[in-house]
């Protein structure tokens, strides 16, 4: 029974890791088509370095990701504070809307926002992408920060209020430092969501602003080249370096798990 369990675990991990490992190993293979090992080579990395389309798309993805996740975290922080501290008309409606936003399939967002941008004559490109990405990151930011606010000590806020702090002072001097870990997590979650999104961006992006997931998508459709292996290896390494300490994804999933 014990060895059966062990075998099962190993098989699942093999299934999870085999594709990624194969991809990384073959990014160093000195052959274009063969799936046999032809010796070590940097060829595909050199070729990638000269691919201006992919590099430009990568740059755009970082610009978009940083802009969208920073703004989403900013708006999300104010929103979470408003939802937590204030009572106002329509609060229940907004909370319900946030839940629907988290659960709605991506494609609904894609079509709805495309429709909205067309009706309001917003050109498809950077602006439309930033708005779309902020919108689908916002509920996750709010949920993360809100659950952190519930855990904070209410007496700190009351003490500050007794000592005469204004709401803006409370926000800047108490809330922000208190929420710092959750703020970092929110930013990383947003960046991951933004950099990974295909379905929504597919609908609201335009030719003026190419982003990496869509550039990879169209180049895979054109045919598989080891250059993509190199790119994927680099991205994998980069995400490991950035996300490993934060373990942001784990937090996001568990937050979602609690929500359901």
């Amino acid at each position: 029974m014990r060895s059966l369990k062990l075998t099962y675990m190993i098989l699942i991990y093999l299934f999870l890791y085999l594709p990624v490992v194969v991809l990384i190993v073959f990014s160093f293979n000195d052959s274009q088509y063969s799936s046999l090992w032809h010796g070590f080579s940097w060829t595909w990395y050199q070729q990638l370095w000269q691919d201006t389309i992919l590099l430009n798309a990568a740059k755009n993805t970082i610009i978009l990701g940083v802009t969208a996740s920073s703004l989403a975290t900013l708006i999300g922080t104010l929103s979470a504070a408003a939802l937590f501290y204030f009572h106002f008309k329509g609060k229940k409606l907004l909370q319900g809307l946030l839940l629907v936003m988290i659960l709605s399939p991506d494609i609904i967002w894609g079509t709805s926002l495309l429709l909205f941008f067309s009706l309001t004559h917003v050109p498809l490109g950077f602006t439309s992408l930033v708005i779309a990405h902020i919108t689908f990151c916002l509920p996750f930011v709010i949920v993360t920060l809100y659950s952190r606010l519930i855990d904070t000590d209410k007496h700190i806020i009351e003490a500050a209020k007794d000592l005469g702090a204004s709401d803006a002072q409370l926000f800047l001097r108490i809330l922000i430092p208190l929420l710092k870990p959750a703020l970092i997590a929110s930013w990383l979650i947003s960046f991951t969501l933004s950099a990974d999104d295909i379905v929504i961006s597919f609908f609201v992006s335009g030719p003026s602003f190419q982003i990496l997931p869509l550039a990879i998508y169209s180049s895979i459709r054109a045919g598989v080249t080891p250059e993509l292996n190199a790119l994927c290896t680099l991205m994998f390494a980069l995400t490991l370096v950035i996300v490993l300490p934060a373990a942001a994804l784990l937090r996001k999933r568990s937050v979602l798990g609690e929500l359901l």
Binding site: S104, T111, L114, L115, S166, V224
Partner: protein, 289 residues
Amino acid sequence: MRNDRFFKLFSISLLSLWLVIFALIPLLSTLGLSFLSVDDNHFFKWPLTLANYGQVLDPLFLHIISRSLYMSIFTTLICLLLAYPFAYILAQLPAGVKPFLLCLMIIPFWTSSIIRIYAIMALIKTRGILNTVLLHVGIIHQPLHLLFTQYAVFIGLVYNLLPYMILPIYTNIDKLDKRLIDAARDLGANRLTIFLKILLPITLPGILAGVILVFLPTMTLFFIPDLLGGAQSMLLGNLINVQMLTLRNWPLGCATSMVLTCLMFVFLGLQHYIQQHSSSTGKQAAGQR
């Protein structure tokens, strides 16, 4: 005091305006457009009509929708069957190794989903590594033609969504009071009874959460069948994509989106119902000890 009111007003109106303008209005205009008809020069034309929904219920579309449902249900089932034993074994392990193994499971998912699909393609293509190894070892004598079939789509979907099933189930099993199982065993219950009477009712909320997290995205990840599948494997997401961007029939695309939204609400309602129902049986199971 003025300062205070400004902050309150600012934060509340920022949130409300953003959500109303960029979430509520787009969603409502999708709903609205689904009742109008397509026009070559403008997006739509009046009057209100139910024709789009009639078209969605057309046998051709129903065929695609039912195929899509079949693929989503099958993917969800495979994920559940793979994830449950994994989550169970993981939860039984010593507390020291659990976070490490959990982290190890999630690391491949830090890459973007398009990269994972590309990795699957490289693995299973006709002259890919899988066929090379299998031919070399002698398990098969002809290369398997997996890529561009329905099987490839299943592999891609399961590969992309498995953690969404594992995590909620694991959270549930991990919280379970192990003494319940010991007590049942002492009282002479066999493995099947323990599973059906204790494990299943208590972990049902986790299973449901996992099913929703896998089932809903499965229908909409149009790029997976597009890259891995053949002409036969279309998901609801592919259908909406074609209607919106290729055929430019936005009212029809919106109507199909609304069908998907309705499916989502049906599922959430179902989940809510089962959760209410199971929490009482779960309490019963716990109360019997």
